[in-house]
């Protein structure tokens, strides 16, 4: 039982980081209808930038988020304006390919600059943990979880309580109708892309403190993001968050109590089971006219 609870704690805490990254992907899909295959490398890019800010300038990774988030927001807008906007009439598939290619290109640059050795960010508190009722709570994972909750809460507030949020939701639901009602869909899409990439920026800063990473780490992360997107429903923020935590917990508990070999497979079993019962995902909705 102790093992199960300990593994659940670890799974929930890291599930929060997955949720943060995946929520950005959900926002981007909402406004561009393109699955962002570069979301994982954006996270790794920010992990590297956070690494550089820490090792070369002594800036704490949590503080570096204050730099990374606005920078990645602007980067996201730039990607939309320079790449995706021009392709918006050519179908989402082309945008997907462009983002996939962009991801490979960024990895190439990172491999060239940082080489392919694994990196890990190790501030003085990186290995600290608290013991609570006999269970270990790693400090970095706990604060990363808090960060995820804060960022996701802010995103949810923006989406629900602001004019921008209403425009984002309207664009997500029906871009044509939104345009007819006077919403500047291209501007909103650019901002949505910026927010989505900024979420990766926030997560990347802490990702490098929790796990060793190099450019290739993007593929493992990307496979998890895609699984979360399918399980949670591509357009659903709550679904994405719940799916991310399920992924974290299932992987952690199965790996600790049964075998690491079965952890990824176990998540896929959960994924297939949900898709058989709810093909649109946990919180997804059937699209009108869907077969």
């Amino acid at each position: 039982m102790h093992l199960f609870v300990q593994a659940t704690i670890v799974g929930i805490l890291f599930g929060g980081v997955y949720a943060l990254i995946a929520s950005g992907q959900a926002i981007i899909f909402g406004v561009t209808r393109t699955v962002n295959f570069a979301q994982a490398i954006f996270t790794i890019l920010c992990a590297y930038l956070s690494y550089t800010l820490f090792t070369d300038f002594g800036i704490d990774p949590f503080l570096s988020i204050l730099v990374l988030v606005p920078a990645m927001f602007a980067f996201g807008i730039g990607i939309y304006v320079l790449l995706l906007r021009r392709l918006s009439r050519s179908g989402a598939e082309l945008g997907l390919l462009v983002l996939y290619g962009l991801g490979i290109g960024i990895q190439g640059v990172l491999d060239f600059v940082y080489k392919t050795n694994n990196r890990v960010i190790t501030p003085g508190y990186a290995n600290n943990s608290w013991t609570v009722a006999g269970y270990q709570i790693p400090e970095v994972r706990f604060f990363a979880f808090l960060l995820a909750v804060a960022v996701l809460g802010t995103l949810q507030l923006i989406r629900q309580r602001t004019k921008l949020g209403r425009a984002l939701r309207a664009t997500t639901q029906n871009p044509v109708a939104s345009r007819l009602l006077g919403v500047d869909v291209e501007r909103i899409s650019a901002i949505g892309m910026g927010l989505g990439v900024a979420a990766a920026g926030a997560a990347g800063g802490v990702f490098g403190m929790i796990l060793p990473f190099n450019g290739n780490t993007q593929y493992d992360l990307l496979s998890k993001l895609l699984s979360i997107a399918v399980l949670g429903g591509l357009l659903s923020m709550p679904g994405t968050i719940v799916a991310a935590v399920i992924l974290g917990v299932v992987e952690s508990v199965v790996a600790a109590t049964i075998s690491p070999d079965w952890s990824a497979f176990s998540f896929l079993v959960v994924l297939f089971a949900v898709l058989i019962i709810r093909p649109q995902g946990l919180f997804g909705r059937r699209l009108r006219g869907a077969l």
């Binding site: 300990q6 796990l211 060793p212 493992d220 199965v254």
Partner: protein, 413 residues
């Protein structure tokens, strides 16, 4: 239309010019070995296929440096048997198909005198087969996997003291050399799902179990796994005295971090890979690296043949410190040393002589005193190394040790 045709023509010319420029650069790069002041006669051309690009490019770079360092060193001494050594290095892009093409071209088109091996077992297997077909000796630095020796090639010689799967034997010997009261009673054996690490860990486990050390946890995880917190959670719950972990690098760091966070310190910690990386202390925290064991084929302070000169030349040519030299550079350098020794002992370095000579006797190199079985597998044993007071030092066997093993201190946090 005319404009398009003209543009196409210019484009074609530009492409041709670029291709010729690249070819010129390539030619000049391959013939850029250090010159000799006293060498006479035609140069001795040694062909090497190296992973200058692709997955192994970064890992192979130290081996490339080792080859080049040996060539410049031997040329500075007047060459080999009075002939300047010239390396012809071609890129295999880390690709097993390309490596075959490269060695075929080196041997049949370029007619190189000798060849050295590429980087990795993956590329050594097909490359060695080509060398065998043409009767070339195949001294190679890094192909130590069982698949290499399963070829039973009489022309192959791995320039390391032991095959990879035997690299844990020295650590098992060390544990079994301890008085019974000091030996661990329980052990855990997590390993990445990798043929090398699993074989090494399996070998150690078999021997320690036979000696009565109880296995309390054993598992494998996908080699690409970086989040090892579930493995560490289970490991901590099992509370082993000894951790023998089949790691490649990042997973060793993750396991240490996990154990530090869990405040659990085994009495003995051994990783197959990771601690040999000079950046390991920086990744886990310098104090946490203290007392961690691994094994290796080469270490900076080794009192092996020519090692001091090798380190001095390496630092002079590439900068840094001896402590930062990657063992792959020493392995490649040892390939060249073997040629020098054959030349000294036999007065010639043709392929038949090399093959015949290396199958007899012992050959002192920076990698130690090497000798081989008929299949090219080395007969020696790796060395147990341990992080002691901030240095990775050989601690066992005693004859090669620079210090005594220390007890694993508690994690520093």
């Amino acid at each position: 239309m005319v404009s398009n045709v003209a543009r196409s023509g210019w484009a074609a010319l530009a492409c041709l010019a670029a291709a010729l420029s690249l070819a010129a650069c390539s030619t000049s790069a391959t013939n850029s070995s250090a010159g000799s002041k006293t060498a006479s006669g035609p140069p001795l051309v040694i062909g090497v296929s190296m992973s200058l690009s692709g997955d192994f490019a970064t890992l192979a770079n130290p081996a490339l440096k080792g080859y080049k360092l040996w060539a410049s060193t031997v040329n500075a001494k007047g060459g080999l048997l009075g002939r300047k050594v010239s390396l012809k290095i071609v890129d295999d892009a880390s690709n097993p198909t390309q490596v075959v093409t490269n060695y075929e071209n080196l041997i049949t088109a370029d007619r190189v005198n000798l060849v050295f091996g590429p980087f990795s077992s993956l590329l050594t297997v097909p490359a060695a087969t080509i060398a065998k077909r043409f009767g070339y000796a195949f001294i190679e630095p890094s192909g130590g996997a069982p698949q290499v020796f399963a070829l039973h090639l009489h022309n192959l010689f791995l320039a390391q003291p032991a095959p990879i799967v035997s690299s844990g034997d020295a650590f098992a010997n060390y544990i079994l050399s301890l008085p019974t009261a000091q030996r661990p009673r329980t052990a855990a054996y997590p390993s990445a799902d990798d043929p090398f690490t699993q074989a090494i860990v399996g070998e150690i486990r078999q021997r320690l179990q036979a000696a009565g050390i109880k296995t309390v946890y054993s598992t494998t995880y996908a080699a690409e796994t970086v989040d090892l917190s579930p493995v560490v959670t289970r490991l901590v719950a099992a509370k082993p005295d000894l951790l023998v972990s089949g790691t490649g690098g990042a997973d060793a760091v993750a396991e240490v971090k996990g154990m530090v966070q869990a405040h659990f310190t085994p009495k003995f910690v051994f990783f197959t890979g990771g601690p040999n990386d000079p950046t390991f202390p920086a990744q886990v925290g310098p104090a946490n690296a203290e007392g961690i064991f691994s094994t290796g084929d080469w270490f900076p302070q080794a009192k092996t043949a020519g090692n001091a000169a090798f380190e001095k030349a390496y630092v002079a040519k590439y900068g840094g410190t001896a402590a930062r030299i990657d063992p792959a550079a020493a392995e490649a350098f040892a390939c060249g040393q073997l040629l020098e020794l054959v030349a000294q002992r036999y007065g010639k370095v043709d392929n038949a002589t090399i093959i015949s000579a290396l199958h007899h006797g012992t050959w002192p190199t920076v990698e130690g005193n090497l000798s081989w079985n008929a299949d090219g597998s080395p007969r020696g044993s790796d060395i147990v190394v341990q992080w002691v007071h901030g240095q990775l030092l050989p601690v066992y066997p005693t004859a090669q040790a620079l210090t005594k093993p220390i007890a694993k201190p508690a994690w520093a946090g």
